[in-house]
Assembly symmetry: C2
Homo-oligomer: 320 residues x 2
Amino acid sequence: MVKEITAQALDTESFINEKVAEIRSAVGKGTAINALSGGVDSSVVTMLGHRALGDRLKTVLVENGLMRAGEVEQVTGFFRALDVPVQVADARNEFFAALRGLTDPETKREAITQTFYRQVFGRLVKESGAQHLLQGTILTDIDETVAGIKRQHNVFEQLGIDPEEAFGYKILEPLIQLRKEGVRKLGEALGLPDELFGRIPFPGPGLAARVIGEVTPERVEAVRRATEVVEAKLSGFGAFQYLAILHEDRVTGIREGRREFGQQIEVRCWDSVDARTATPTRVPFDLLEQLGREIVAAVPGVVSVTYNIACKPPSTIEAI
Amino acid sequence: MVKEITAQALDTESFINEKVAEIRSAVGKGTAINALSGGVDSSVVTMLGHRALGDRLKTVLVENGLMRAGEVEQVTGFFRALDVPVQVADARNEFFAALRGLTDPETKREAITQTFYRQVFGRLVKESGAQHLLQGTILTDIDETVAGIKRQHNVFEQLGIDPEEAFGYKILEPLIQLRKEGVRKLGEALGLPDELFGRIPFPGPGLAARVIGEVTPERVEAVRRATEVVEAKLSGFGAFQYLAILHEDRVTGIREGRREFGQQIEVRCWDSVDARTATPTRVPFDLLEQLGREIVAAVPGVVSVTYNIACKPPSTIEAI
């Protein structure tokens, strides 16, 4: 049983000192590795790890082909500015090969998880010679996995993997007692920029979680373009999250007087405090109509755009 | 080449007299039959035919299982009030049998058309002994078929059917020179109630046109319930058309803390003058959110509801 530290109770300086000491003690004279996704949790772990180990922590950003437009450059830029080196590993082909032909959401998620841990990151760890892996697992990840709401990709037990046996490394999870708010407070104390915290939540499987049906480079590119429009247009509403989803269903459209059986993009924008319940953001209709126009203009083959009007529950924030 | 009569140019009394004379002359001492869908065109043809032939016109409403809640009762009620007898032919099993396993929109539409003309109505005509069939084809049907936008199910040529050869009857199309506005003016002159004209446009294939993927009795019932909510909630906006669509894509939902892979309903509500271009009606957000709540409550298995925000073109009014 993990003992929670609330954001209010969190004394960042003593927490940092304690975790830095623990990481140093665990890693000893060896080296460690961690994967940076650009999310708050993995970013905070990166900072904490570098504070503890300096160059003996190798931070890798795996380019899985499922990230948003400009995201790799943006994330590496944040850390370059803090003098923390990040290595980008291009594994796009491996992920798309693993996803080929898959349509079931759980199977797709599983393929991404397996490709990441067993294949790509496993190889990177082996090549690095590191004996320790730093992970950004937080308390909420455990709760949601237990509740069966989702399978957190960063909880190893879920995979039935003993990392030490399988890959020869030990896992360190310095954030396991915290929730989002505490992680954010810690990240600020570690010097991470506001911009990084301002980024809206983004799921582990990346844009694959925004594609209903098969995840191909073309379909990811379609939802990437739609996401770019949605994020640019909806960033000003203080919404909890906003996203674009590429549907598999085809709907009739018409271009230049001719019938075209095309694709549909669904836009969701949520007002929420803690993601447990959420309501659709009341975006002005002018903007919704503009969103519709820009998405059909920006994404080839898209003839229809919808906006979510259901609440969570029974909806969920993401579609798959 | 059919010569158009505009609504403005239409002199209803002389048009009625002319068409009544033409129908009488064509049918002679024989009998005629017509299919009433409840749409304006077939309703006007029914009135015109009865004016010409009285009891020698048999009017049949084919219950194909694809109509809206209460629609059969409503339509037959309109005509009962006008002393025009309408026979209801229950062909639900035949239509659902023909639709079983079909997912392609064109194939589904074709199955409905073929089941209607070759099977159900063909049999009814034969049983009736009628030599003439009255049809409510209007000029717009021909235009849209020529443009390839849709295949009007009531244009026989499209089917490669010579009705006289195939079924032994001749087709009469007394409304072929008119467009919607003219037909409506004619219907008013023939005594049809305002309520009938006030009904929003409804596609030939009925609720099958509102189901993406396979059309089963269960899936039609789902979209029927959603349609009932949508029509009740959105009737007050003076919108051109409003509809519910059952998607085939599954999306994640959550009920009682447990994940549920559920269905999605899309709502469309259009402002339009002539259906050639259309924009989404700016329904207040209170009502949209209420729509979302009522649909997930009314339709088992539905966890998500969206509202269309794209314009026509490149969208179309209906989805399939």
